[in-house]
């Protein structure tokens, strides 16, 4: 599991994931979730960071201009963290963690095998 995929295999599979994301939901995007995470933390401290606003396109607004923009899209994600974009971020972390687990197990097995030889 430690060997990195070559560019052809890696590029083709990564391209497949890009496409799969668009077919199933929408193009992949991560960076906005940093703002959402900050907003969720700020909203825990001050419950008014994101608030309901029926006149906004997404039903939420904020006193912060960035969180209020695009019809309260970000404010909405802050109020309802169980949304696609936010969960995607944690699943990506889990994808990396899965490799860590498998690699560790293989390394341990390898050590056991080499230990048996002695």
């Amino acid at each position: 599991m430690q060997i990195t995929w070559n560019w052809l295999k890696g590029g083709a599979i990564l391209g497949g994931v890009f496409l799969l994301a668009v077919i199933l939901v929408k193009p992949l995007g991560v960076s906005t979730q940093f703002v959402i995470f900050d907003g969720i933390v700020a909203n825990l401290v001050d419950n008014d960071v994101a608030k309901k606003d029926d006149s906004a396109k997404h039903g939420y607004t904020s006193d912060n201009a960035y969180l209020a923009k695009s019809g309260g899209k970000y404010a909405h994600s802050i109020e309802e963290p169980l949304n696609y974009g936010f969960i995607l971020v944690f699943a990506m972390f889990a994808g990396g963690f899965f490799i860590l687990l498998v690699t560790k197990r293989k390394t341990l097995e390898g050590r056991k095998r080499s230990a048996c030889r002695f």
Partner: protein, 191 residues
């Protein structure tokens, strides 16, 4: 349902990013130093294959058009890109790969994530002031939500083609250039 899809797509994306080496900052730093172009080849080939297939799906109507979302281009993106590039080269991570790197057990990725959260927080607080003082940063480029090859979706405009040349041919040519680039780029430069 969208949560299940987020888990499936996120797991796959995280797993594959790690497998191609993007969770390791040394690959990214060596790519930016033009010393090891492995990741550049991976990225070029991934963009080439996915955009070619995407435009074929668009042309055949096999994809739900509401799933296509184009980010607006505006002047601030150029400034942001420069800042992003510095962070990319100094840290060796981007907002996606740091998550995968951290999941894969790298402690430096955690510091990068914390830095990203502080930076994103600072920008969120500054946004109102920035847009008042530097409105030119938010001026759209080429109509904002614009693509090179026309997607055929009404709310987005295409820059090239339209005169009887199907969009997937233009997208296909661009995609093939990317794929040939991936193939022909040397893996290593002896600098």
């Amino acid at each position: 349902m969208s949560i299940i899809l987020a888990i499936i797509v996120g797991l796959a994306f995280g797993f594959v990013l790690h497998r191609v080496g993007a969770g390791n900052p040394q690959y990214i730093i060596n790519m930016l130093r033009l010393q090891d172009l492995h990741l550049a080849k991976v990225i070029l080939f991934a963009i080439g294959t996915s955009s070619l297939l995407l435009f074929i799906l668009l042309a055949t109507g096999l994809i739900n058009e509401s799933h296509i979302s184009i980010k607006a281009a505006y002047t601030g993106v150029i400034v942001g890109g420069l800042i992003f590039g510095i962070g990319f080269a100094v840290g060796g991570y981007c907002p996606g790969t740091c998550l995968v790197g951290f999941g894969g057990g790298r402690k430096d990725a955690l510091y990068f994530i914390l830095g990203g959260l502080i930076g994103a927080g600072a920008f969120t607080l500054m946004y109102g002031w920035l847009s008042d003082v530097f409105p030119s940063l938010f001026e759209k480029i080429a109509g904002g939500k614009t693509t090179l090859a026309d997607t055929g979706i009404e709310k987005y405009q295409g820059l090239v083609g339209g005169d009887g040349v199907p969009a997937f041919v233009i997208a296909g040519i661009i995609a093939i250039i990317f794929m040939i680039g991936a193939w022909k780029l040397p893996k290593k430069f002896n600098v």
